[in-house]
Amino acid sequence: MKYLDEYRDPVLARRLLDELRQTATRPWRIMEVCGGQTHTLVRQGIDELLPAGMRMIHGPGCPVCVTPLETLDRTMAIAARPGVILTSFGDMLRVPGTDTDLLSLRARGADVRVVYAPMDAVRLAAEHPDREVVFLAVGFETTAPANAMAVLHAARLGLTNFSMLVSHVLVPPAMTALLDDPDCEVQAFLAAGHVCAVMGWREYEPIAARHRVPIVVTGFEPLDLLEGILMAVRQLESGRFEVENQYVRAVRRVGNPAAQDTVRAVFRVTDRAWRGIGPLPDSGLELAEEYRRFDAARRFDVGGLCPVEDAECIAGAILTGAKLPTDCAAYGTRCTPRHPLGAPMVSSEGTCAAFHAAGRTPTRSTA
């Protein structure tokens, strides 16, 4: 895979950093929306090499982190039921609910399985007609097409023992909500390349125009990020506010229309509460009426949920870029990947986990 070498070339990286230092005349603040980008920035230490004063604000783009606690508690309650096979992507297994997490439930006998694609869950349902197979469908626009395909496939197979707990979220409403906040410090965005590979960037154009904010569709390798930051800074320095595409090898303006059609066929846009941020109108996906029979929330009446967020966790402020993980009093002490108080410390895409994995301490903070 030549991309790996091409986009991790140390010589080119230093050249881009030099160019960035020559271009930036002010301490710009740029938000990378996606948790994958946060991870690369922190792992490579790119954010510590930026020109003096310039700051990356780590955005709400970790799907694990923004999944509401109530959804997690509902998932645990369903997983604990006899006869259920609860399937999930690996990230979700360690996320703490109010009382427990999926790994602990599995150790106690619940049938919790990691899958690598939602179609694996459909296959499990076909193989185990006597069991209820539930797939926890979280994620942004990136994972929605594959999840929609899984529903269509289950429908074609006539499966009655497959269902999804859908908690999809959409990026543009979150960006708009951030920009509408009068305290918002974000001056430019790096949009998530994978999301745009599906959705294109047309829906970002009105956001850039209305809020006069540059948006650069950016990939995930170190050089992608450096180039994306440089493109954003060039726009900021010249007073432009356009949508530009750094990730030309993967993204077209119209995205992937076939994938979009599949999503539209299975899901419909709905209001959604984001963990740490709160309710945002038209910011999520739920199953369309035609496919409601696959809705695990309807199939399993778990009731009695009482989600309680940890009072000390400042996940909301971190997800919106208002604070850094190292600003949190619990960071690295009472809150660690071993004992996470909130989701950003759990997922490999979570900002707190990325900081912790890179050994960031409050004194080394970039704040």
Binding site: D9, A13, G45, F89, L103, S104, A107, Y116, T143, C306
Partner: protein, 344 residues
């Protein structure tokens, strides 16, 4: 706070899979439960123990529970031999004898058991170590996952070698004998059908000959360790902790095969924490580093040996840092537990 709305809590009174992953959870289990129960010492936990009262003799034991039993590049039989031979080698020892103990699940096809045992026997023969004793138990269906193997080995130390995880010195060169991440990604890909199986193979192989190549450097070979569970990150952290030194490695020097990098990218795993079964890290006195590298490269198992870093003359004790591709510096932490693939 009410009874109906409990505050978040962590229920840890059962063993989790992560307790066996070789990271921080494993260390906690050993320190807090297992070692106190057997009155284990407080010194560094080595790959193999010196046999009390028998200077020069080394002993090691290991369980192999890999699933699937067969994977590209190896199988549980050859792995069981290589794993224990390598643990002995990391204390500078040549293998003298092995025991092999089997726990077989009812229903395992005899043809599979025969294939595993044939492979195990061939691996032992290739190493030149006799299997001198063993045991076989069969348990009911569901009581084991097809086949578990325990191997115990006794080895004779090369007279000039006495490496220990506690002997890394400031100024030491850190040498790595080969590419990382092959075993872990191969097994994961084969088990889960991720499609990388045709591109990669486990690096499982014996390392005793590679260690023998280092004999001429004697006491200048301070530490040897094969980075198995927990990968290079766990091995370096253990050495940094046990030797009370700061270790720094260069990201660009650590060879990660393309297929491993691709698989890790897809799954959100860090190649530094992925298991290996056929490479070692050596901490060698700086004066002998070039000679040791040449010696390692003269053996097939060390043909791709490189210098990846050094023990810093000063710096926080127990800390491992990595110079990133773009020239920044970040801490390589001890992995926590089970590696979980990410969502997207």
């Amino acid at each position: 706070m009410t009874i109906e709305c409990p505050t978040p809590k962590h229920e840890e009174e059962v063993v989790l899979l992560g307790h066996g992953a070789g990271g921080r959870l494993t260390a906690e289990l050993l320190d807090q439960l297992i070692l106190p129960a057997v009155h284990g010492g407080t010194g560094p936990l080595e790959d193999a123990a010196l046999l009390p009262g028998h200077p020069g003799l080394v002993m090691s034991t290991d369980n192999f529970v890999v699933s699937p039993l067969f994977f590209p590049g190896g199988d549980i039989g050859s792995l069981a031999v290589h794993g224990t031979v390598n643990d002995l080698a990391m204390r500078g020892a040549w293998p003298l004898a092995l025991s092999v103990s089997l726990i077989v699940e009812e229903g395992l096809p005899l043809s599979e058991l025969r294939s595993v045992m044939t492979s195990l026997g061939k691996a032992a023969q290739d190493v030149g170590v006799p299997v001198v004793t063993g045991d076989t138990k069969v348990v009911g269906r569901g009581a084991a996952d097809r086949l578990f193997i325990n191997t115990t080995g006794v080895g004779q130390r090369h007279e000039l070698l006495c490496p220990s995880a506690a002997l890394a010195h400031p100024g030491d060169a850190v040498l790595l004998s080969g590419p990382i991440g092959l075993h872990g990604t191969t097994v994961l890909s084969t088990r889960e059908g991720l499609g990388f199986e045709s591109d990669i193979a486990s690096d499982t192989r014996p390392l005793h000959r590679l260690v023998r190549a280092l004999v001429p450097f004697g006491a200048d070979v301070h530490v040897l360790r094969d980075p198995t569970r927990g990968g290079l990150a766990a091995a370096l952290n253990e050495i940094a902790r046990d030797s009370s030194v700061a270790v720094e490695i260069e990201e660009s020097a650590v060879r990660v095969p393309e297929a491993v990098a691709s698989a890790c990218d897809l799954l959100g795993l860090d190649p530094l924490v992925v298991a290996n079964e056929g490479c070692l890290v050596a901490f060698v006195d700086a004066a002998s580093a070039e000679g040791a590298l040449t010696a390692m490269r003269s053996v097939a198992e060390g043909a791709a040996a490189v210098r990846i870093g050094e023990v810093l003359p000063d710096g926080p004790q127990g800390r491992v840092t990595l110079r990133t591709l773009v020239g920044a510096r970040r801490i390589v932490d001890m992995p926590l537990g089970e590696q979980l693939p990410r969502i997207c």
